[in-house]
Symmetry: C2
Subunit: 221 residues, 2 copies
């Protein structure tokens, strides 16, 4: 049997990729290095803006995403993951073009939400993620709370703050965006980095990158 090799198509953004890799390591049952998963990461932060691509087509991130996936493929990865929600709009095309077995973080999140009682769920993400509807189409029977324009501006600010290395500032913006809903999905990989710095007690925050990491670990064991 081939030893599993996890491929992470990252860099979108880079801090989120580093946090995702740390999470994958922390959630792997291990007492020594050799118990951990082999991992290859291709992190190209120069991939053009995914949000603009989805909102007005002014950028095209796909060629560099495809190139990254091909790099991972050349290394022999046996399972792949992409810790960026917005980029998941391109995942079907990426899978079709490469045949790489990606774990779909959005599908995994929908699967886990379905196992719970919650019907009313808040969804925070980039304008691109919300506009392309990848979450809404999988959660049609849920009562989804989507931010209004003012709250979305706070979400945008929270994401931008993490991307410029200021997660504590991101937490202040995230705090302003959190709705009064018991369960909120942090559907942008920068948001959990801001959430780590939240003070006070928000409702439950679901971090889909936790689910993505656990799915990879399960697939590899």
């Amino acid at each position: 049997m081939t030893e599993p090799l996890v491929g992470i198509l990252g860099g979108m953004g880079p801090a989120a990729t580093a946090a995702f890799y740390a999470k994958l390591v922390a959630r792997t049952p291990a007492i020594r290095d050799q118990d951990h998963l082999r991992v290859a990461i291709w992190a190209d932060p120069t991939v053009p803006d995914r949000v603009a691509a989805l909102l007005d087509g002014s950028t095209d991130p796909y060629p560099l995403m495809l190139a990254g996936a091909r790099h991972l493929q050349s290394l022999g990865v046996t399972i792949a993951a992409m810790p960026c929600h917005t980029a998941h709009a391109f995942l079907p095309r990426l899978i079709a073009d490469t045949g790489l077995p990606f774990v779909d973080m959005v599908a995994e999140t929908a699967r886990v939400l379905r196992q719970r009682d919650a019907r009313r769920v808040a969804l925070l993400g980039t304008r691109g993620t919300l506009a392309c509807g990848i979450y809404q189409e999988r959660l049609q029977d849920f009562d989804l709370a989507i931010p209004d324009e003012q709250a979305q501006q706070s979400v945008d600010e929270a994401i931008a703050a993490v991307k410029r290395g200021a997660p504590a500032e991101g937490a202040r913006h995230l705090s302003a965006a959190l709705p009064d809903v018991p369960l909120t999905v942090l559907a942008c990989t920068e948001l959990p980095l801001a959430a780590d710095r939240l003070t006070g007690s928000p409702g439950e925050l679901l971090d889909p990158t936790d689910l993505l990491a656990d799915a990879l670990i399960t697939e590899c064991r």
Copy 2:
């Protein structure tokens, strides 16, 4: 000009590699994703124990280290780094066999120490790092404090705790190993993860992975 591509030969151990990548991102001046460095990481935690290789030759990590370096080379990395001090004992051979331009973390640490007034410096690392003398040979004119057997046992415990995902426990062991010396070099990539959880105020702790990250950023700009 070719866009720089940083290669990280990691997994030794994996948590330290994730922390190193996060550090590289955090220390890069950037306000958006596209300002960050392109990074490829090969993290194979199944590389056999480096310490045993250096102490009694009972393991041989070199073939998998070389394979990993070749993987990074196949991706076109323009500069490489290996966030593991003990593995630096194999760095000259790795450079000779691959021609990859690695930044030498040990040499970088010696260079920075030389710019400072400190002559008395404590060195904490694995038994392998201390036995192979890669630091001592570069710091011959320094008054180096090396742990006695009891302190080294605490260092070993601190490293093992981080490797099994228990950095707070690692901090307790590290605390017991810290000598009464103004400047201590944390010459094992697991130790800064334990040091992050230290309470109280130890003397100054120098983390060579900070220097390695800064050297990569400088080289790429």
